[in-house]
Symmetry: C2
Subunit: 350 residues, 2 copies
């Protein structure tokens, strides 16, 4: 058996699947941010060649998938399953972004934790024998998200200081059996990244209702998932070179670190929140930072995996975070439950 | 390894996971239909005790999950993963329906194919070692779906003759390792149902744009998935006692059967479309029949699995079908891509 369930929430892989290819694509604002040099592609047209924001986001997904497949050195038809989703209702961006690929598709929704969920399912599918090669993808688009969750751009809505700025971007990852990595054109002797396991998130609801402070709504979920990962695996926080959360932003990441500290776990010297880092708050006026599925996905595919390939970090716990609200649930006065899935990544010689 | 990938789209399980428990719950109209006697629970209050349609749908999900866990004879904490989703944007019904369970949650979206997708992922998770016990769930609600996809009920919108009537209902299935079934209180010597494998669907788009004829939009996807299943497994259609599609309705099911017939496959003597069957068209005025995730899910959990336990049918190919449209994609003039996942079910002595 290639996978084992340990503790309450964690799955570890005996023969860990490895990442064959990755691709990141972002919009102009993200390209001008501190990580601009790491993204594979920066698109200046906010419609990404489409006629609508939604079509533009589909094009981001499409380009990210094609880029990841190309870099992996495989053919599209080698993919056994595409696993992905996005923030748009009924996964509109992903549906139209991958509909031409002619491979099985499983739609996933974990809000901004979707890249974590799709890597987790890919890992389980590959380690368990259900697939040889999977493609995980997610995206977000600033204008599409504003239109759906808040107000159309033309309204010139004021943004709260605790609000994140939705990242326009997508990340795609091709994952496969480690044994097959040797057959790829680029792997010989190179360092790659293995998914050694994951901790699946539990819906966590601390009663936050402010959709302009989603960092606060998601922070408890990230904290609980990280704690569960350490408990289930008997690891210490120092066993990871970097602990990465998705899009908690400046407010949420502080809450998350404080919650861990109350448990005696000091994450501060190895903590990286994608939302806090992706923009330059002083120059780019993004308030609490970046958010959206594309935030952690593009930084994973553009920056973090590259750092692992260069052995700057050998072990990363990647914990994208999702706020499980909808425009309807918000209007009906419901709380914003959070979820976070933790993916254990390790640099390995291929 | 507990799972094997065969052909282009199919996964088969060597040690097939079995269904530990199932529960179906529907609204009053479904309860008055021809299968009323088979459902575990019929709720006459259209709000299902909630304050909104969406809260009512969450309550359906919640009751279905609790019912399936109870019938399985396990504790809620025995579940390793909840796998589910619904038609509401950002999976609102499922999120709030399962948020109190304190077990890992993976949100899935395959429109009305979601019960197929969640059984497929559950099967792969269990057979591959990532989980011992999974809970798969989905739902739909007539009034919630009308409000979201069409017009609020108060508008008294006329329904097209090709349109399906969204089923108010939910179905939940607890699946686990076959070896564990022996430890359950109810299994001794009984006949249960195993998930022997599945064929994951490919997004199929024949260019249909009429959201009042979703049967036509989904029929090609069902046809392609059934054909792929037969090709990948080298089975003939007569190897199945029953081929079940989700919610193609009267129009879509005829298209599906015709498409198969053009390939020389006559499914007519063993074909059951849940959408076509769940209501009595003459007495209930539902036009093309039932639709929604809850349609095939409630008939699976209430009627079909019961028939298998009684060995009326020994092998069923369960193929729920999804129309991958959103209110936005429809308004923007996009096509309606379809998807269908085929689950191979077999009666087994436990």
């Amino acid at each position: 058996m290639g996978a084992r369930h340990i503790g309450k929430q964690t799955v570890v892989f005996d023969d860990a699947p490895v990442i064959f290819g990755r691709y990141s694509i972002v919009g102009a604002k993200e390209g001008k941010g501190p990580f601009g040099m790491y993204f594979d592609e920066i698109v200046n047209d906010p419609l990404v060649g489409g006629k609508t924001w939604e079509e533009g986001e589909s094009n981001l997904i499409n380009k990210a998938c094609i880029g990841a497949v190309k870099r992996a050195g495989i053919r599209q038809s080698d993919i056994d399953m595409v696993l992905g989703g996005d923030l748009l209702s009924q996964l509109m961006a992903t549906t139209f972004g991958v509909s031409q690929f002619n491979v099985p598709f499983l739609g996933l929704y974990g809000a901004c934790s979707t890249m974590g969920e799709s890597l987790a399912v890919a890992g389980s599918m590959i380690a368990g024998g259900s697939a040889d090669i999977c493609l995980s993808v997610t995206s977000s688009h600033f204008a599409g998200a504003q239109k759906q969750f808040r107000a159309p751009l033309d309204y010139g809505e004021w943004r709260s200081l605790t609000a994140g700025y939705t990242v326009t971007g997508s990340g795609a990852v091709v994952t496969g059996k480690r044994a097959y990595a040797k057959e790829l054109p680029w792997t010989r002797g190179r360092v790659g990244v293995a998914i050694t396991g994951y901790t699946a998130g539990i819906i966590t609801d601390y009663g936050i209702k402010d959709s302009s402070n989603m960092g606060a709504a998601m922070a408890p979920a990230a904290y609980k998932t990280i704690l569960a990962n350490l408990n289930d695996t008997s690891c210490r926080i120092t066993d990871y070179d970097l602990v990465v959360t998705g899009d908690l932003g400046t407010c949420g990441s502080k809450i998350m670190a404080d919650l861990l500290l109350a448990e005696g776990i000091n994450v501060s010297d190895r903590y990286f929140d994608c939302g806090e880092k992706i923009f330059d708050e002083e120059k780019q006026d993004t308030h609490a930072g970046g958010s959206g599925c594309g935030c952690s996905a593009s930084l994973l595919c553009g920056y973090l995996l590259k750092c692992m390939e260069e052995e700057i970090y050998r072990r990363i716990l990647f914990v994208p975070t999702g706020a499980l609200l909808s425009p309807v649930s918000f209007k009906e006065g419901k709380t914003i439950p959070g979820i976070a899935h933790a993916i254990m990544l390790e640099a390995v010689k291929l």
